[in-house]
């Protein structure tokens, strides 16, 4: 585990990007309650708990048309 702490400076930006993506997607899910498929709880879970892929899948496939 000590090795991992040594790499913290490199892992923190990665975690920040993941969080940034997840939060952007979460706000979008909450503010635009129209999806191509699925419902709000489903997308919240996907966006928050599936790292990186979740928000991407939401923006590419799940986001509804305005």
């Amino acid at each position: 585990m000590e090795e991992l702490i040594e790499y913290m400076p490199f892992l923190i930006p990665i975690v920040l990007i993941e969080l940034g993506l997840a939060l952007t997607a979460l706000f979008h899910v909450l503010r635009h309650p129209h999806y191509k498929f699925g419902n709000k709880p489903m997308w919240i879970v996907i966006v928050l708990f599936v790292q990186i892929i979740g928000p991407i899948v939401y923006f590419v496939f799940g986001r509804g048309e305005e």
């Binding site: 490199f10 990665i14 990007i17 993506l21 990186i52 590419v60």
Partner: protein
Amino acid sequence: MNAFIAFANKELTESVRTYKLLIITAVFLLFGMLNPVMAKIMPELLSSFMPDGMTIALQDPSALDSWAQFYKNMSTQIIVFIIVYSGVMATELSKGTLVNMLTKGLSRKTVILSKFSVTSIIWTLSYALCFGVTYGYTLYLLPGELPNLYLAAFSMWLFGILLNAVMFFGSVLFANIYGALLTTGGFTILLMLINIIPKVKKISPFKLVSENMLLLTGELDFTDLRISIAISCLLIIGFMIGAVGLFNKREI
């Protein structure tokens, strides 16, 4: 020219508003950071997962491993890029949102070329971002000199542009996203299949993405790749001419 810039501007705004730019930047930045870090910690991770008493011989990671990760992940990134941007031409055709602008006098050539330019610029910038981050981290974590570093990066970039051109051709041909994706996928599979023939393998554009590591170890150099590069450039021009020609004839 004015129409070209205005339409390109519209494309860029659309890219921002539909979060496409955000996704692509995040993915490319993320992989750019992950490549060197993964290469560096992979041996330690592997040995820490090994049960007691078992050892595996692992070489110390080098700059080469970091770039191996880069080229391995870049093929995934190309797929993400193509999926995210497959809609730029195809959805406008399938929904008919171009009709207004075309009847007001915007030329069809301008539409397709400015769309192609914008996606190519986004691909170039995000690729440069990923390359730059990997380059910087590799320099810091796993220093080492490698031959043909920029040539290898250039060939991968050119292949991305080629797939982009194929995607536009497919979009105009089928006027929907699935057609665009199938054409691009089909083209790639075709390249893989004809790669079995040794004579074709030497000059196939697929060489641009399959032999990056040989470039970095110095086993190949520019003279081995120049025909592939020339053929790729010709294919890009060919597919774009084809796309413009088809688009001119297509009813919208």
